[in-house]
Amino acid sequence: MLKSFPAGGVHPAENKLTAGNPIEYLPVPPSVTIPVSQHIGAPATPLVAKGDKVKTGQLIAAGKGYVSSNIHSSVSGTVNKLDHVIDGTGFRQPALFIDTEGDDWVDTIDRSADIIRDITISREEIIRKCQEAGIVGLGGATFPSHVKLSVPSGKKCSLLIINGVECEPWLTSDHRLMLERGEEVLIGATILMKALGTDRALVGIENNKPDAILHLKELSSGFKGITVHPLKVKYPQGAEKQLIKALTGREVPSGHLPIDVGVVVHNIGTALAVYEAVQKNKPLFERVVTIAGKSLPRPGNFVVRTGTPIIRLIEAAGGMPEDTGKIINGGPMMGKAVYNTDVPVVKGMSGVILIPMSESSRKEVKPCIRCAKCVTVCPLGLEPYLLMTLSLKGLFERAEKERITDCMECGSCSYTCPAYRPLLDYIRLGKSTVTRLSREKNLK
């Protein structure tokens, strides 16, 4: 029996169309729009002004405070303006608009193809380098990695988990990275282990990627302390707490962090970015993005510079199909629908999925028949039907007691509801209201 997390979960159609498409490089676009906030935490402060010349990999906005992240230019050229942009999450935020001239990289970046295995720098230096390079969690949460790597005093990390689950349908960027950059990913994992002070790492990969499991298993024999574990295919196994439960049986208490059970989880893409930052001096200004959709002519996996409008990606994939009704930033379960095709690619964008018009609208909502499917699939043991009702009726105190804030918004309840009830919409409303109310209470 393959391991998985025990309670709840769903298995949406996988649609991993691009699993066999090798990673390609998207040409550097004529201009980029780089938002100053591509991470969780305070937005970065711009360091350049209109008319300034910048190089590829140059620091253009500095992280503000500890929980923040540096932003680097993804192209060389001239800063055109500092303006606002609506990003892939639908928020308006300041961004640097840069017109591309050539592709002139900062000298310190090692652009050779050599793989450097020896880790020569200390724990503190690794963390500092990750902070300088603007590394954030590339699985989608975009939490600044240097914060996650600095184990709080009094706590100990005994295990690193590398998340190669990629449980979202359609997405294949991590899958391709494991196949094509496996060795660098494992060196990245070794660097992370050193930074965390642990000698053990597990790589969790779902069983729908047998080639990646085989490849990393072979490679891992050359790395001390790293083992690869196949997992049963089940969404949302890529969620940190579910993955920890599946691999170790440990359960992160509600309201706590993985480090409280001695575990830190990093994504495949993050491990590669850490390798590049530490061994190659390369800051994070490009990432692999899956572009896919049912009627897209040439779906694929591309290395894309941050700030590239997603229309460039869609054009590289053969152009936008006539019947496109919705474009998703991320996977179809947790991704966000974007407003237009000018939205820039950011650090946390793992995929761009085009949904045909016929599948892009919500269906008519029917009455709840209390089939309990939402309760059965909730990986956190919540009762989505009840939380929705409580939110609808404005009973937020009761919703808080029913642990509405535990919800991680994986969408399994809405996915599975046979009456098409917008369970997660109302749970989100309840969650944000409960959070706001408790913040107000604390202020008093």
């Binding site: 179809p332 379960m333 991704g335 629908a337 209390r370 043991g381 029913e402 809405s414 996915y415 997660l424």
Partner: protein, 333 residues
């Protein structure tokens, strides 16, 4: 690009399950039992079923259209299921106008007065059935005796159900071992060759439907197994104490509405609990009340009453019995 894109919160993909599919899967699961009852009881079974289903649909339509002024949703199949289940609780030779009255009570009173699908606290088909049992006791307990394919509607030879015979016999002081000799054998009971309401008699067909529902993930095992298990346990204890005064557990499970009730009525989504733990408590409650009524009560059969009584506890269970929350009580080794 001038394309206007749809924007909505996640998730952006849905399972293919719909209310309609769930309901029609229940209908499919009930078909083997329908065929069996037509085989044993003849055209009467078909007529009663057709009348019950049709009148349930018509009443729901009329109420939604003209009283509630709401969009009509009879295509979701829930009225069909109610009609089928009501018919399966009736003798196959019952007068048609009584079936129509029963359907009206089931749909009109037990379901639509509470707001329709999803809102009724009690199982509509059972409310209809119990209403008829109390109002028309003679017609409701005159069971035709199966005699192969028949074409007529009222030409059946009538008799009592095995449960009623046993109850009567025990009351008169006859030993159970003697009584059982006059009863259908367990094999006959399993295949449905005995007196009873249409859906009560075909254990094999009902179990086939149960397996189908489990495979299609329409219901989980919790409720049916806990109902049947608790009846088996309870009656085994009584039987071991005094086998001459109490029938064996096999007899109890194969006769009356245990299988129909456990698999199809107790599992009604709307009127059963939401959490597996509560489902098991609910199922055991039904099992124990059924056995109590059968052994100590006035009626020979108690499944309908047991389910309705436990229906009343469902809101309480939903309020106080919670699933195991992730990260709530943590034991890390």
């Amino acid at each position: 690009m001038s394309t206007i894109l749809n924007v909505s919160p996640s998730p952006h993909t849905y399972s293919r399950e719909t209310t309609k599919k769930l309901m029609y899967n229940v209908v499919i699961a009930l078909l083997p039992a329908l065929f069996t009852s037509v085989f044993y009881f003849g055209m009467g079974a078909l007529i009663v079923t057709a009348v019950a289903v049709a009148s349930c649909i018509v009443f729901e339509y009329l109420i939604q259209r003209f009283i509630l002024n709401k969009p009509v949703s009879i295509d979701d199949g829930s009225a069909v299921v109610t009609g089928l289940l009501l018919a399966f609780n009736l003798p196959s030779n019952i007068p048609v106008h009584l079936v129509i009255i029963g359907s009206f009570v089931a749909i009109g009173i037990a379901k639509m007065t509470f707001g329709g699908l999803g809102n009724n606290p009690f199982n509509p088909a059972l409310v209809g059935r119990v209403f008829m049992l109390i109002s028309f006791p003679v017609e409701m307990t005159t069971w035709p005796v199966p005699s192969g394919l028949k074409t007529g509607y009222t030409d059946a030879v009538t008799g009592a159900t095995p449960l009623a015979l046993i109850k009567e016999g025990i009351k008169n002081g006859e030993p159970v071992s003697q009584l059982l000799k006059e009863m259908p054998t367990p094999a006959q009971m399993f295949l449905g060759n005995m007196g009873g309401s249409m859906g009560e008699v075909a254990a094999a067909a009902l179990i086939a439907g149960f397996i189908y529902l489990l495979i299609k993930k329409v219901i989980s095992w919790h409720i049916p197994i806990s109902v049947i298990g608790s009846i088996a346990l309870f009656t085994t204890i009584l039987w071991l104490i005094n086998p001459e005064k109490n029938a064996d557990p096999m007899f109890h499970i194969l006769t009356g509405g245990v299988l129909l009730g456990a698999i199809y009525m107790a599992t009604d989504y709307v009127t059963s609990p939401m959490v597996p733990k509560a489902m098991i408590i609910y199922g055991c409650g039904i099992g124990i009340i059924t056995a109590l009524i059968r052994v100590f009560g006035a009626y020979p059969e108690g499944v309908s009453f047991a389910i309705l009584i436990m229906n009343a506890f469902v809101p309480l269970m939903n309020t106080y019995i919670k699933p195991r929350r992730f990260g709530e009580e943590v034991k890390n080794g």
